[in-house]
């Protein structure tokens, strides 16, 4: 396969950036999208040019490190898939694809397709933890949690913090990410002690970082590689007004 790429290139945070066109030859349909970019980078290095910077780590779709827009869609066109798990068989020979980094004030571009997502870390630091001393690993079923509750908490805990929700939202909102952590902790006994302060502090931090308000459109859920549901946002909203009234 031959793939034509229009890639966002930016030398650093203060650089204006521009699109650059590249063609990758002999792309195997079995390659992952990132392997295709690796091939491009090897060619660029051989030609003495700067390789395209992009984030990746596990390349198994579980770490949340990779992520950029493939032709206007965060992580590309496949549902519940990170860009490292997107494969070239999804595309056709001769396709033209535009690659862009996440765009949000709170996610400044560091270089090419790499953005600084430490705003997410600061939201977690504001309340996405439990400070209760839980000791060593508890015996199985020592703290009884209903199967349904455990499953629901795990659904929320699956968020890998990739930032696709922010990238997809027309308002660059981080509510899906924040709500996943708030919901996860609100469902479990370990999360009860800081339940009210957690949601208030995390929402305040989210605003401080410069993320926009929720649009209720659900573009975030549709692009989320882990299928985190908009129901988490409804839970966050409910947790927030309860905490505000009880404060």
């Amino acid at each position: 396969m031959r793939i034509h790429l229009r890639i966002w290139r930016q030398n650093g945070p203060t650089d204006q950036g521009r699109f650059e066109n590249h063609t990758v030859e002999s792309v195997s349909p079995d390659m992952s999208f990132l392997e295709m970019l690796d091939t491009l980078n090897e060619t660029l290095i051989r030609q003495g040019q700067e390789p395209v910077a992009f984030d990746s780590d596990c390349r198994e779709g579980i770490c949340g490190t990779c992520g950029f827009l493939v032709d206007g869609q965060p992580h590309g066109p496949d549902p519940c898939t990170t860009v490292c798990q997107l494969h070239m068989r999804r595309f056709k020979d001769g396709d033209h694809l535009t690659l862009e980094p996440w765009r949000a004030k709170a996610f400044p571009v560091l270089r090419d397709l790499v953005v600084d997502r430490s705003a997410f870390d600061r939201i977690i630091q504001a309340g996405g933890y439990t400070s209760v001393n839980t000791g060593g690993a508890p015996d199985g079923n020592a703290v009884p949690i209903a199967k349904q509750t455990a499953e629901a908490a795990f659904d929320s805990a699956q968020c890998i913090g990739c930032g696709a929700c922010v990238a997809a939202c027309k308002n660059a909102s981080a509510v899906l990410f924040t709500s996943a952590k708030v919901t996860h902790m609100a469902l479990l006994p370990q999360g009860q002690v800081e339940r009210h302060t957690r949601v208030l502090n995390m929402v305040a931090r989210m605003d401080l970082e410069g993320f926009g308000p929720c649009s209720n459109e659900g573009e975030c859920e549709a692009v989320c590689p882990k299928g985190i549901s908009l129901a988490n946002i409804a839970t966050l909203n409910r947790e927030w007004w309860k905490a505000t009234l009880l404060k």
């Binding site: 966002w8 699109f19 827009l69 032709d71 206007g72 869609q73 965060p74 549902p79 535009t98 862009e100 765009r103 949000a104 004030k105 709170a106 997809a168 027309k170 308002n171 660059a172 909102s173 509510v175 929402v203 305040a204 989210m206 605003d207 410069g210 993320f211 926009g212 308000p213 929720c214 649009s215 209720n216 459109e217 659900g218 573009e219 859920e221 549709a222 692009v223 299928g227 549901s229 908009l230 129901a231 946002i233 409804a234 839970t235 966050l236 909203n237 409910r238 947790e239 927030w240 007004w241 505000t244 404060k247």
Partner: protein, 220 residues
């Protein structure tokens, strides 16, 4: 002060817009029920209109409605500005996600339909509330029915009203269910039902209001 601080957060703002929006939906349901009395002739319609305008609670209710409208609009505009700041650089290519997304023409044009509805509201009040005052010779009440018939004899007014009601329906298509989501009253097992009920109520209100000018023009 604490309340104001809470309502200025992104989540608080969404809740304020939801509460004020639902309050206005409640008003629209009552307004439509009252307006539909026009289908039963001038006597009952004028009597209803007189009961409203002679009620001492009318002014406080009107002040309340204006306050609700101002809060709804002010908060919505502030959120739009905040959203613009949150994404200073736009995407070169951006596609709708599809799948689970609830994005629609209605959801993407909320601020536009909102502003157009405000302009319609001004024109609507100017035409009816502050419009020509006819008096019913037998009861001495304001003859709003005659004004209604007079206004909707004009095909221009009928088309204008029907288009505006389409905008109201569109705004509510996203607005009603969105308000439940913002208030956190959208449990997973009820999501589909709330989305359908919100869309149905939006349709009923839009068609219901549009029915009156059409009825007057074609039937009376």
């Amino acid at each position: 002060m604490k309340v104001l601080q809470a309502l200025s957060t992104s989540t608080g703002s969404k809740i304020l817009v939801a509460l004020t929006g639902l309050a206005m939906v409640g008003f629209l349901v009552g307004h439509l029920a009252g307006n539909l009395l026009a289908l039963f002739g001038p006597d009952i319609y004028n009597e209803y209109s007189h009961a409203l305008i002679s009620n001492p609670l009318l002014v406080p209710v009107e002040i309340g409605l204006v306050a609700i409208l101002v809060m709804h609009m002010g908060t919505a505009v502030r959120m739009v500005l905040r959203a613009r700041q949150a994404r200073p650089t736009r995407y070169a290519v951006k596609k709708w996600a599809g799948g689970a997304s609830r994005k629609s023409v209605a959801s993407t044009s909320m601020i536009v339909t909102g502003v157009l509805i405000l302009l319609f509201l001004i024109s609507h009040l100017w035409t009816f509330k502050y419009g020509a005052w006819y008096t019913d010779p037998t009861t001495g009440y304001r003859d709003l029915y005659t004004l209604l018939v007079e206004v909707f004899r004009s095909p221009f007014n009928v088309v204008f009203y029907v288009i505006c009601m389409l905008l109201v329906g569109m705004h509510l298509r996203h607005g009603i269910s969105s308000a439940f989501q913002s208030l956190g009253l959208m449990p997973r097992s009820w999501t589909a039902r709330i989305l359908r009920a919100g869309a149905a109520l939006a349709l009923i209100l839009g068609i219901g209001f549009a029915l009156i000018p059409i009825y007057v023009y074609f039937v009376l």
